[in-house]
């Protein structure tokens, strides 16, 4: 299995006495879109945040493109990486937040240029060219000099996606990218993600948009209680769920 891009093995995560992830296994192949569904509190978002090491795992390990995230292995020991090295690893992992988290004091263009210049040491001129190209790709070429708060929620999320793409990551993680949006703005953001899916970007999307999962996902993963309950192609998981908990969840959201 050389084309496995994201490999999650036996990941456990607790917040104090609360065990949020209890042994999650997940494999995402290069160029595939994986949609993670599940009720709130099922550990979907936490799983996503362990993948780019925003949360440390208590047990298990995660690798991206064969590289262990947050640790270095020597023999039977896992050495925790320094923050500097973790930050370097994160430049390979794009992350899109539910609340966009754009930098409000920087223009849209500066939001896109900041990380390539600061983290990858790209020349500013080159970063600006990439930024303008990406803004055109998400349909916001004319907003380069606007400040984030001058944009609608949908536009802000499209900028956030462009910002994540500016690092040319190996994988893109979306944490409920449309949950903070007004209903009429959801479509424009999903369209951008669909466009990325068509061009073969490896993505893991945590969402509640079942229609989007059916249309775009190569694999649908259903999580509940901190474990993966079932996974498979959308036709299988969404139309013929094997597990009672999946059926109960789908009957509520469909």
């Amino acid at each position: 299995m050389s084309d496995v891009m994201v490999d999650v093995r036996g990941v456990h995560k607790s917040f104090g006495p609360l065990e949020v992830l209890r042994g999650v296994d997940l494999r995402v192949r290069a160029g595939e879109v994986t949609v993670v569904l599940g009720p709130s509190g099922s550990g979907k978002s936490t799983l996503l945040r362990t993948i780019n090491h925003l949360e440390k795992v208590n047990r298990g390990w995660i690798s991206i493109d064969g590289e262990l995230i947050g640790y270095r292995r020597s023999g039977n020991r896992l050495h925790e990486l320094k923050e500097k090295d973790v930050l370097k690893q994160r430049t390979h992992i794009g992350f899109v937040f539910q609340n966009f988290n754009l930098f409000p004091h920087l223009t849209v263009l500066d939001n896109l240029v900041e990380a390539p210049v600061a983290a990858l040491r790209r020349p500013r001129k080159e970063a600006l060219e990439t930024a303008r190209r990406l803004l055109a790709r998400v349909g916001l070429a004319d907003k380069a000099d606007a400040y984030p708060r001058q944009l609608s929620g949908g536009q802000q999320q499209r900028v956030a996606i462009a910002r994540a793409l500016a690092l040319e990551p190996k994988v893109l993680l979306f944490d409920e990218p449309t949950s903070a949006l007004d209903p009429e703005l959801v479509g424009e953001v999903l369209d951008v993600i669909k466009d990325l899916a068509r061009t073969g970007t490896t993505m893991i999307v945590v969402t509640h948009e079942i229609g989007f999962a059916r249309e775009v996902a190569d694999t649908v993963v259903f999580m509940d209680g901190g474990v993966v309950v079932e996974q498979g192609p959308p036709s299988a998981v969404l139309d013929e769920p094997q597990h009672e908990r999946t059926r109960a969840f789908l009957s509520k959201v469909l």
Binding site: F95, L102, F103, P104, L106, A115, A118, A119, R149
Partner: protein, 338 residues
């Protein structure tokens, strides 16, 4: 009272009186503004008090305005103002630098750094500035030589502490250490006011740690830091007057020297007052523009500056004059209170 004089809306009229005809077209209804009688009375009373006070300022011979005029721009005073400004500038810059370091020590994950920063703030907020200044003035009694060497081991190089620090140096150190303790808490408050998601986004993008602080956190923290920092700097400007205990020729010390010689206490205190007011006003104006700069992106459309408002007002006047109309845009130098 406003409620008694408010215009009644068109509706049921008083019983007995014939109901006035209610016009159908709302455009023909005349709006009568409410009259605020109590407000007029209060304004008149205050105006009288202000007039009395101003009259006293101008006519009471004790103010001795001619003495004020002789001294306010004299070389001694201007030089003393310069010393005051230098003390303020050094203590502000060094105090906020040290304060920022202390703030991030307190916010760090290292319990040692946290404790040291907390203890520093605790001690230096506890000591009155004047007590601390006298301590520094007597530094040589405490440590007569300062040098570099191995901790608890041999010293390679040392100097007489009075010769490198001097009086002004001691004053700057005292003011700085005092200021740093307050600045640390102001900066910490500002940093805590920045949304957690901003740091997460910066971390997720792999931006190096120092750059996260300098480029993402501090510029946003400035919004919360600046109003309080402005207070602190203005407080410091006036606080420099306590270094008169160290016989440093700053404004207040020099004023005292002069009135000690000629006995004209009141006009010379006025000289000091006038300068402190002028300097504080300049700082306030600077604060307005710095705050405006750091507000970029915070508002969808930033409000115009007072200068832009004046220009706009003049423009409206001109067009109005050209059209022989009265201006329609009221002049509000500071805008509507929000």
């Amino acid at each position: 009272m406003a409620s008694t004089t408010d215009t009644a809306p068109p509706g049921p009229a008083a019983p007995g009186a014939p109901a006035p005809p209610v016009p159908d077209d709302p455009a023909t209804l005349k709006v009568v503004p409410a009259r605020h009688h109590a407000r007029w009375v209060a304004a008149a009373a205050v105006a009288v008090l202000v007039a009395q006070f101003t009259h006293g300022l101008a006519t009471n011979p004790v103010w001795e305005w001619h003495v004020f005029r002789d001294y306010v721009l004299s070389e001694t005073i201007v030089q003393a103002v310069w010393v005051t400004l230098q003390l303020t500038a050094y203590a502000t810059v060094l105090g906020f630098l040290l304060g920022t370091v202390l703030a991030f020590m307190r916010l760090s994950r290292s319990p040692v750094l946290q404790t040291v920063a907390w203890t520093y703030i605790w001690i230096f907020r506890s000591i009155p500035m004047i007590v601390q200044l006298v301590f520094w003035f007597n530094l040589s009694a405490l440590y007569d030589r300062l040098g570099f060497g191995i901790p608890f081991g041999p010293v390679f190089w040392s100097v007489d502490s009075n010769s490198i620090i001097g009086t002004i140096g001691a004053a700057v150190i005292g003011l700085t250490l005092h200021q740093a303790a307050y600045a640390a808490e102001i900066v910490r408050g500002g940093v805590l006011a920045v949304d957690e998601g901003q740091l997460q986004a910066a971390a997720a993008l792999g931006i190096p740690r120092l750059r996260q602080i300098r480029r993402i956190v501090l510029p946003q923290a400035m919004r919360a830091i600046l109003p309080t920092a402005g207070n602190e700097i203005i407080g410091l400007l006036k606080g420099t007057s306590v270094v008169y205990v160290m016989s440093i020729g700053e404004l207040f010390y020099q004023v005292q020297v002069i009135y000690g010689r000629n006995g004209r206490v009141i006009p010379l205190l006025l000289v000091a007052t006038a300068w402190y007011v002028v300097l504080t006003s300049l700082l306030s104006v600077a604060q307005y523009y710095v705050e405006r700069r750091y507000a970029r992106g915070a508002d969808r459309t930033p409000p115009p500056t007072p200068l832009q408002r004046v220009r706009r007002f003049v423009r409206t006047l001109r067009t109005a004059a050209a059209q022989r109309h009265r201006p329609v845009v009221p002049f509000k130098p500071l805008g509507d209170i929000r």
